[in-house]
């Protein structure tokens, strides 16, 4: 069991800061994910926690104790890398037993722990095989087993599912989540896959170019992103951003677009500090909150650019002025290319960002907004 804390950690490679003043706290027994695109510093973060990298600034604490200079082997934290690195000439049993033998664990204790780990991961029937005789998913389990068998205080996993095919990834996603819940041990999980970061952890840190953008529950990251970057990396298809101009009247924020106006009544938010009259801003709206009305009589006028059927739902790409907006529609909605439609934006689910991407308002279903999406009489 271990709580992990990073305080203002900075790690440079030459002139590039892979981690730039990262402060994080992972609770004891928590499932914590780190999400970011390639090059965000995710792997460096894990390597710093386990002790394979020494930060130039800041400290790492495990259970309140400073471990920044402590040798990796003495931190009792296990890491599983993206490349599985199983011993090809050893059986599954010996692959699992290896980390214990290195620690001079008694033989019967090794047998007991290997047996138990194999049972947890459903690989009991594979113990006599060599890695070459295993499927991708089985190898993944064995690699995970090598990390589990040591029963460390905390586990760090670096993109453990990225090498698996789509179906297996779905299965392993749910399985890992159950496993962590059963074991109750601290798990830090690095991924570039927003679905994994949404579905598995209790909290997620979004990282960009070595800087933490937001640390929150997956739902808050989705519904209340702190900035445009976070809003873009979670959700598929990604959030739409529509350029608007700010108008303020009687303390009410009004966003002007050539084709519509949105009126924002955000109680208790001193909006004028960040958005002043006449400045440009971004209206953010997720595809599932853009509703298409066929016929084009009601709502904001738009035309169908393309439709992308996905089976259970359809992505409708709409041309709104000179911009494209993605909408998620039920598969039953039949639309032709270039057909004129009306669109409605769900007023309870809009986001407003400053021109440089900082979130000003996020509505996650509450009546933060009073909206008049009016079409100017032409």
């Amino acid at each position: 069991m271990a709580a992990i804390r990073l305080e203002n950690v900075t790690k440079r490679f030459g002139s590039i800061a892979a981690l730039d003043g990262v402060s994080l706290e992972v609770g004891d027994g928590e499932f914590f994910a780190v999400l970011g695109p390639p090059g965000a510093g995710k792997t460096t973060l894990l390597r710093t926690i386990v002790g394979l990298e020494r930060p130039e600034g800041g400290d790492v604490y495990v259970d309140g104790e400073r471990v920044t200079g402590v040798y990796p082997g003495d931190r009792d934290i296990a890491i599983m890398f993206q490349n599985l690195a199983l011993y090809p000439d050893k059986t599954v049993y010996n692959n699992l037993a290896f980390p214990l033998r290195q620690r001079k664990t008694p033989k019967d204790e090794i047998a007991r722990r290997v047996e138990q780990t194999a049972q947890t991961l459903h690989i009991g029937h594979l113990l006599k095989r060599k890695p070459a005789k295993l499927s991708g998913g089985e190898r993944q389990r064995v690699a995970l087993g090598r990390v589990l068998v040591r029963a460390p205080k905390a586990f760090l996993l670096d993109e453990p599912l990225s090498a698996l095919d789509a179906l297996l990834r779905l299965e392993m996603r749910a399985e890992l989540k159950r496993l962590q819940r059963d074991l109750g041990r601290t798990l830090v999980y690095v991924t570039h896959d927003q679905v994994e970061a949404m579905t598995m952890p209790e909290r997620v840190a979004v990282l960009r170019e070595g800087v933490v953008q937001q640390v929150d529950t997956p739902e808050n990251v989705y519904h209340r992103p702190s900035n445009q970057f976070v809003a873009t990396v979670v959700g598929s298809p990604p959030m739409n951003f529509i350029q608007c101009r700010v108008g303020v009247r009687n303390g009410v924020l009004r966003l002007h677009h050539d084709l519509f106006d949105v009126e924002v009544a955000a109680k208790g938010l001193s909006l004028r500090q960040t958005l002043s009259e006449g400045t440009r801003c971004l209206l953010g709206v997720r595809p599932e909150d853009v509703h298409v009305e066929p016929g084009g009589s009601a709502g904001v006028p738009a035309t169908v650019y393309v439709t992308e059927p996905l089976g259970g739902e359809t992505v409708v790409d709409l041309r709104l002025g000179d911009h494209l907006v993605k909408s998620l529609a039920p598969p039953t909605l039949q639309l032709r290319q270039d057909e004129r439609v009306g669109i409605r934006l769900d007023p309870r689910r809009l986001h407003v960002f400053t021109q440089d991407g900082e979130a000003v308002v996020s509505a996650a279903g509450e009546d933060l907004f009073a909206v008049a999406a009016t079409v100017p009489a032409s």
């Binding site: 159950r178 579905t199 992308e308």
Partner: protein
Amino acid sequence: MAEIRLENLTKDFGGLVAVADLNLVVDDGAFIALLGPSGCGKTTTMNMISGLETPTSGEIYFDDQPVSRVEPGRRNVGFVFQNYAIFTHMRVYDNLAFGLRVRKPRPEKAEIDGEVKRVAEIVGVSRILDRRAGRLSVNDMQKVALGRSMIVNPAIFLLDEPFSNLDAAFRAYMRAELKRIQSEVGQTMVYVTHDQVEAMSMADRIAVMNLGVLQQYGTPGEIYDAPENRFVAGFVGSTQMNFVPAALVPLGLRGGVNGRSLTVGIRPESIRIVDAGAPEATIGARVTLVEPLGAKDVVHLAFDEYDVRAIGTPGERPRIGENVGLALDPGRVHMFDDETGKVVR
């Protein structure tokens, strides 16, 4: 523009049959996807169309002309690969112009210029024409690669996983762009992918392959709503179809079981989570896990020894451990023969 017809096409790599007796017609101007897991034969099929591989037997016709012995360069086929084939030391402009400049006779400068600008506009690189291609982002490089192939105006356009190195947001953007471009330009397009979302969202028709054998050829709607076999049913759909033995599901099975062992297949979105005792509940299950996706949840449920997945609404999220009822829409239940895997209708 051309119609492509594959007749009894087979490719045997010394005993390993990569493609077995494939018959497929791609209509002139159609956008089709070859979809399947790695090793299914999709890339080999594409390589035979382009001429990079020669079929062991069978024939390929472009507009009724057999082409399997025609050199790749003479087939009038354009390519885009996973790894962007561009000249990194050249400007974007010269990359686009290249295919026209090597043409004999060489077109007039003004004509080349007009074409470069037209294609740059279509693929969205007009503003970076003077930049060195090697300095571009991965996303822009792939746009340039697409433009380079498009400018020579091939009769047939072949794309092999062109988006797999791009980030998710850009992939979503390019999907819509490519579909729109194809509908405007009207070239016959064959798109190879292992990603069912790409195949579903862009193609007019999808050829699903597995182990060298064509499993089904149909529109995205047919593939999704009327899969011919269990492989297709399980491969398409972002949350996989649920499969449980028919004997466990009281649905008044159509046609009866007749001694054959059957599996019921039902998509997660065709299952409604209701109260345990509700009259519409077909079966009972226990909630084991909820995976929030933002707009919706994937709810995992224990039913007998099976993990059943249903799509849930975040506002009505059940508790872990809760016993619930599952209402299955009988009109959306698929039946598969356990022996052959084929659908039973």
